[in-house]
């Protein structure tokens, strides 16, 4: 893609040749529809952002950000969304910490080793299958696995021999699966774009493959990997289904056991997405104002991540063509 960006002329695919000026009615309609589609997209995005901005400014207050949610029908007493905010952050950190190294590892194996070829092909399609699996299916699969008694150290034993199966640990592990394909894809693309002679230069200096990967290829693909991780974080922040099933989507974060940090991770909680879901007209909370405020914060996080991606891709990386 980057190669195309450099060779592409600013005039589009057909470039200098203007083409015929005879436009049939069908072509005119098609052209108008193309303009219409492009402008419609801009309008939809603008409408979403502006609407959320207005509602967000209307309903968001600092108090909401820093108070715990409380049960109760009276909206003035039901608190804010400090716990969901913490939940979103914690879950994103856990899932990213798992997805980033695993994803980069898989990408490195696929591009640099990839032997035997049939296994590499199978893994490649396997990553696609994971990417296409609905997150709700991943979620209830996770519940099935982590309710086995041997995994009770990740949450707690609900009844003897059966784990509760819902905790930050567990939700983070399954959440990492939805970020994984994005990390693998972006890292592979970045590794592919490192030209062969760079590798050969490193081999000629007597480095073996793994140190070439560590010292040359991974630093050179930093930006691609960063993009993939940021994209993955966006997916994690925005996912609701896994949180509903595997984090319990409780009102407050509910630590288990006595150890402060570990107890939090073994406990249940909620994130901004489930907070919005539960406070929307379909949920139990039924407080659209708070749903709007939380959704606005969520949208800000997502837009922030997009900015990060923009900065990463715009920044100057190693240029092999110069």
């Amino acid at each position: 893609m980057s190669a195309h960006a450099q060779t592409r002329l600013p005039t589009g695919l057909i470039g200098r040749i203007r083409g015929s000026d005879s436009w049939s009615v069908g072509d005119r309609i098609g052209l108008a529809a193309a303009w219409g589609a492009g402008i419609l997209l801009c309008l939809i995005a603008a409408a979403i952002v502006l609407y959320m901005l207005v509602r967000g400014v209307q309903y968001l207050s600092l108090e909401l950000l820093f108070s715990h949610p409380q049960p109760g029908l009276d909206q003035s007493k039901s608190g804010g969304f400090l716990d969901p905010l913490q939940g979103t952050l914690a879950l994103t950190v856990i899932a990213t910490l798992i997805a980033a190294p695993v994803g980069v590892g898989i990408a490195v194996w696929l591009t640099e080793y990839g032997r035997p070829a049939w296994l590499a092909r199978a893994v490649e399609s396997g990553v696609e299958i994971v990417a296409g699996t609905p997150s709700i299916v991943l979620a209830i699969f996770g519940l099935l696995v982590f309710q086995e008694g041997i995994f009770s150290f990740l949450s707690y034993e609900a009844t003897p021999g059966v784990s509760f199966g819902r905790s930050f640990f567990i939700a983070g592990m399954i959440m990492s699966l939805i970020a994984l394909p994005l990390v693998v894809g972006a890292s592979r693309e970045a590794l592919h774009s490192v030209p062969r002679h760079v590798r050969e230069a490193s081999y000629a200096l007597g480095k073996d493959r793994i140190s070439t990967i560590r010292r040359v290829l991974l630093p050179a693909s930093r930006r691609g990997i960063g993009t993939g991780v940021a994209l993955g974080m966006g997916r994690i922040v925005g996912d609701t289904a896994i949180v509903v099933v595997l984090l319990g989507a409780t009102l407050q974060n509910d630590p288990q056991g006595g150890i402060p940090g570990l107890g939090f991770l073994q406990g249940t909680g909620s994130t901004l997405t489930t907070y919005v879901y539960n406070n929307s007209p379909v949920g139990e909370g039924g407080s659209p104002e708070k749903a709007y405020a939380a959704a606005f914060v969520l949208l800000l996080i997502v837009i922030g991540l997009n900015f990060v991606i923009d900065m990463i891709t715009r920044g100057r990386g190693p240029s092999w063509t110069r």
């Binding site: 589009g12 098609g30 893994v123 296409g132 493959r209 879901y277 709007y292």
Partner: protein, 333 residues
């Protein structure tokens, strides 16, 4: 990677082999995971399929009542109720997914052509972040806007009282409908399709389209007849990926489609578009609280098994389509 460099010490060679083995094991874990997922989910779902046989996929009775019956099964395992005819859910899923993918394909082809060829520079500069933003907005936000803005709008202003009365003994029309679901879902899946189509159109060799233009057709036709045709495998891949994405959308659809296990009837004419339904994925989210009731949980896993197998086939198909394209160097990686 035949180039191994000059002979190094045996020890370093072994480090390299160990690294290859470890990374390979990590990558293979993905395959193990998929195998486990299919095995676990199907094993758990089996009773529901086994009790109903092929009727599971058929129509008959009210799904909501059947699910309540399953949920309230007697405690004795031999008395578990499993009777379910899931057709309305399957039909609702297929209807919304199919409509959204068709609409999305049309919109994404037009916008991709617009981005690649016709948009002035400044609009193109806006469109790139716009597409990325639309792809990144969480589904719960789409759902929130859908249920607070679109559903009341359709319920109060578009669907007239006469139309509501015409089906009031069958179903309530309050605006949550397959139409709203399809529209919002289209907005959600279009960005992926645009991204893939734009990449493919840009990698069509310039002299093909330039040649067409030089032969005297206008730019729109050159792009449509040569550019889009060369990018056809990518478009197919995009549609397949979008279908997989749409199949799995649970939260937004459970919010805006009314969440009634009802099979909209095309014979109702225009009213058809305003009828509510429920998709498989949305059903699982809504049934999540009852997963601990054994027969009910097993039924939910049966829905998950159906989704899992269809999305796995779709992803595999998309992967094959894109692989076959690499021969022509039109592949989005």
């Amino acid at each position: 990677m035949a180039a191994r460099g000059p002979q190094t010490a045996q020890q370093r060679d072994r480090t390299d082999q160990r690294a290859e083995f470890l990374l390979g094991a990590l990558a293979s874990a993905v395959l193990v995971l998929i195998a486990f997922m299919i095995a676990f989910v199907f094993a758990k779902a089996w009773p529901s399929f086994a009790h109903n046989g092929l009727d599971w996929f058929g129509a008959g009775g009210n799904v909501d009542e059947q699910l309540t019956g399953i949920f309230n099964s007697p405690a004795d395992p031999s008395d578990y109720v499993y009777t379910l005819h899931a057709w309305p859910l399957i039909y609702g899923t297929a209807l919304i997914t199919g409509a959204a993918v068709l609409l999305g394909t049309l919109v994404s082809l037009l916008s991709a052509m617009f981005i690649v060829e016709f948009a002035p520079g400044w609009i193109r500069a806006i469109l790139q972040p716009v597409v990325r933003l639309l792809a990144a907005v969480p589904s719960v936000i789409y759902g929130l806007i859908g249920i607070i803005v679109l559903v009341p709008f359709f319920g109060n202003h578009v669907i007239g009282p006469a139309r509501k009365e015409s089906v009031q003994y069958v179903i309530q029309l309050d605006g949550s409908s397959i139409l709203v679901g399809t529209l919002v879902l289209t907005v959600m899946i279009t960005p992926i399709m645009i991204a893939i189509t734009v990449d493919a159109l840009r990698s069509v060799p310039r002299n093909w389209t330039e040649g067409a233009a030089a032969l005297g057709v206008n730019r729109f036709r050159a792009l449509r007849t040569v550019g889009l045709r060369a990018a056809r495998p990518a478009i197919v891949a995009a549609a397949i990926l979008a279908t997989a994405r749409a199949l799995g959308e649970a939260i937004m659809l459970s919010m805006v489609t009314g969440s009634v296990a009802f099979a909209p009837n095309p014979l109702d004419g225009v009213t058809f578009f305003f009828e509510p339904t429920r998709t498989l994925a949305a059903q699982i989210v809504e049934g999540a609280e009852g997963l601990s009731v054994k027969p009910f949980g097993q039924t939910m896993y049966a829905f998950a098994a159906l989704l899992l197998i269809s999305s796995a086939f779709l992803s595999f198909g998309g992967w094959l389509a894109r692989r076959s394209m690499r021969k022509y160097t039109l592949a989005p990686r």
